[in-house]
């Protein structure tokens, strides 16, 4: 309790003091931006693949910061009127919600030809898809040496596929999976029939051993044999598989999700940030990302560069054939009032 409650306040203080530094330092500095991502292996991979090459090409300095969940910080920083960050890499929904609440800059795509060339479903007035991951059905190959579960219908079928199950303790992607288990086609999910989804979830609830809260936890559960099948992020599953765990997953009926780049409202280096956004989705930089980590490029043109070998491409969530098997998450729906209401309903569903 204590760590959380001081969080926002700490940030307000930090924001205030760092803001002071920023204003005094600006005159002397060359073009620079502060870029914020989620840290860990992911941020390392994008530094090599995208950030360093972009900085070099544009002749700018990219200062990096990382935070597991940027949303509360975005709110406090912009709310204080002196944001210290420029560009954030965050789940797309936050860019959209932030845009509606006046926390995120509206993008001028005429200044970003690389982004403008991307499919419309991959961008919004406030954001550009940066990388893709997928919420997939993962399973233990020890429990299912053959005839593994291959769809959410199978996941819900506790007679045909006995075993312990886990789902994420979060409505996003879980409601989509429930609806697909109930027979809704991936392309007909939105707007989500929330009542129907929760009803279907009630069905599987008694069979869920763990409702996981972090990606690391989900990987651990499968690795330890604590559960036999679960919803998990593809990168987490392939990471434990690489370490020798007998686990696998299917892209069939996966829920394709993205993090996006967006710019904080009133960012200190707005113009440089726009230039960087364009460069960051350059197909060649984007193609370098999956060479360093198991995530797919946000710009599908990356697959046409020849940088990604076909056998590597086949493993990636956003590779066109894999993407075709999956549902593309609608962040627009999740940040709409109906989506927010569904998120709130989750808490009472869990505690019943």
């Amino acid at each position: 309790m204590t760590t959380k409650r001081h969080f926002g306040f700490g940030y307000a203080l930090l924001g205030g003091s760092l803001g002071l530094f920023a204003t005094t330092g600006i005159a002397a500095a060359a073009e620079q931006i502060t870029f914020v991502s989620q840290g860990g292996a992911y941020q390392q991979a994008q530094t090599v693949a995208i950030l360093d090459p972009s900085a070099k090409k544009l002749g700018i300095t990219i200062n990096q910061d990382s935070i597991p969940d940027a949303w509360p910080a975005i709110k406090t920083q912009v709310g204080s009127g002196k944001p210290i960050w420029d560009v954030v890499d965050t789940p797309t929904g936050y860019c959209l919600r932030g845009g509606e609440q006046g926390l995120i800059e509206k993008l001028d795509f005429s200044k970003m030809p690389n982004a403008a060339a991307m499919p419309e479903a991959y961008r919004s007035p406030y954001s550009v898809s940066y990388e893709f991951y997928s919420s997939v059905l993962a399973y233990s190959q020890k429990t299912f040496p053959k005839d593994a579960p291959n769809s959410w219908v199978d996941f819900w079928d506790v007679k045909k596929f006995p075993g312990r199950r886990a789902l994420r303790n979060h409505p996003i992607a879980t409601l989509e999976a429930a609806l697909m288990a109930d027979g809704v086609a991936p392309e007909k999910l939105y707007p989500l029939d929330v009542d129907r989804a929760f009803k279907k979830l009630e069905e599987i609830k008694p069979h869920i051993t763990v409702w996981w809260t972090s990606g690391a936890q989900s990987a651990q559960l499968l690795n330890d044999g604590e559960v036999d099948m679960e919803m998990a992020w593809n990168g987490r599953v392939s990471a434990v598989a690489k370490e020798g765990a007998k686990v696998s997953f299917t892209y069939n009926q996966g829920i394709l999700q993205s993090t996006s780049l967006c710019i904080l409202k009133g960012a200190p280096n707005l113009e440089t940030a726009v230039k960087f956004l364009n460069e960051a989705v350059n197909p060649v930089h984007q193609a370098n990302l999956p060479l360093n980590i198991d995530y797919g490029p946000g710009n599908p043109k990356a697959f046409e560069t020849g940088v990604i070998k076909p056998e590597r491409a086949a493993q990636l969530p956003s590779e066109p054939a894999n993407a075709a098997k999956q549902a593309l998450m609608s962040y627009a729906w999740w940040s709409s009032p109906a989506g927010e209401a569904a998120e709130k309903r989750w808490a009472s569903f869990m505690q019943k």
Binding site: R5, G8, F9, T209, Q217, E226, K344
Partner: protein, 285 residues
């Protein structure tokens, strides 16, 4: 003469105040101000509002969480008392050298982080964990038992983590019970169990109350253990606070929950302090 002694006393008070002022300042900056800010957030959002509190007292998910938290805290306290009392008794009864060993074993886990201990329990209790494997090896069970990712696992780990807070105040109280009293009881013909029930137990009650209060209050705010071992269903109040911030980004609602929890803890302390002085409870005298 009384005049100068009063002056002396006043000067001494002034000196003491000057000496503690840095500490007071730190407390003010790091505790009083943030908590005040927190309380303010719970009632002010574009104007004065009691909406956050109304929700806590009317929506049943909040009620359920508070009820569950108090239930778990009560269970943990009772278990810690049942486990801790014999340990403290033993540490008090054996010769000095042995009591140091016993107390060292009680305090040792303090040096391991709560997170590590939670994961250790996971390794012990999970389906393929040590305990289930052992029971299956001994053919005592067919299917692995569900020992973790539920309230049971949460309570077990929490008892383990909080046990020292029970044992230490108990031991401190028991140490002060004069051994002569037990001898006197025996010399008057009472059996050992009767001297224990009539003499030792009543005299150790302040320690029991102190230990129980410490464990109960600390348990109310537990976060990591239920988060890791509760399987997502054991939603304690501290988790409501974090969910409100992380999932719904409602600092006001989170603050209100925290304030209600804080007030309940203060009320418990006030109630307990009617029976036993807080100084004594925190091991001062």
């Amino acid at each position: 003469m009384p005049d100068s002694s009063q002056k002396h006393q006043r000067r001494e008070h002034g000196l003491m105040l000057a000496l503690v002022s840095p500490a007071l300042l730190v407390i003010l900056l790091l505790i009083v101000l943030p908590v005040g800010w927190l309380a303010w957030q719970s009632i002010y959002h574009d104007g004065f509002t009691l909406e956050n509190y109304r929700r806590i007292f009317t929506e049943d998910i909040y009620w359920r969480s508070f009820a569950l938290t108090f239930e778990i805290s009560l269970a943990v306290t009772v278990l810690a008392l049942l486990l801790g009392y014999p340990v403290a008794y033993l540490a008090n009864a054996v010769p000095k050298g042995w009591s140091i060993v016993i107390l060292a074993l009680v305090v040792l886990p303090f040096w391991t982080s709560v997170l590590v201990r939670a994961y250790a329990w996971l390794a012990l209790l999970q389906r393929t964990g040590v305990i289930n494997q052992l029971l299956r090896y001994l053919d005592m069970i067919g299917e692995p038992l569900a020992l973790v990712h539920n309230t049971f696992g949460t309570v077990v780990a929490t008892v383990h983590i909080l046990l020292p807070f029970m044992v230490l105040p108990l031991y401190a109280t028991m140490q002060k019970i004069p051994a002569d009293l037990m001898q006197a009881g025996a010399s008057l013909g009472a059996s050992p169990s009767l001297t224990f029930v009539r003499v030792f137990l009543p005299l150790s009650l302040p320690g029991v109350l102190a230990g129980c209060t410490m464990v109960f209050v600390l348990c109310l705010g537990f976060y990591i253990t239920p988060e890791l071992l509760g399987g997502g269903r054991t939603v304690m109040v501290s988790m409501l606070v974090s969910r409100n911030v992380e999932l719904y980004n409602q600092f006001g609602a989170a603050s209100a929950v925290a304030v209600v929890l804080l007030v309940s803890v203060l009320l418990i302390f006030v109630a307990v302090s009617r029976f036993i002085s807080l100084d004594r409870m925190l091991g001062q005298k």
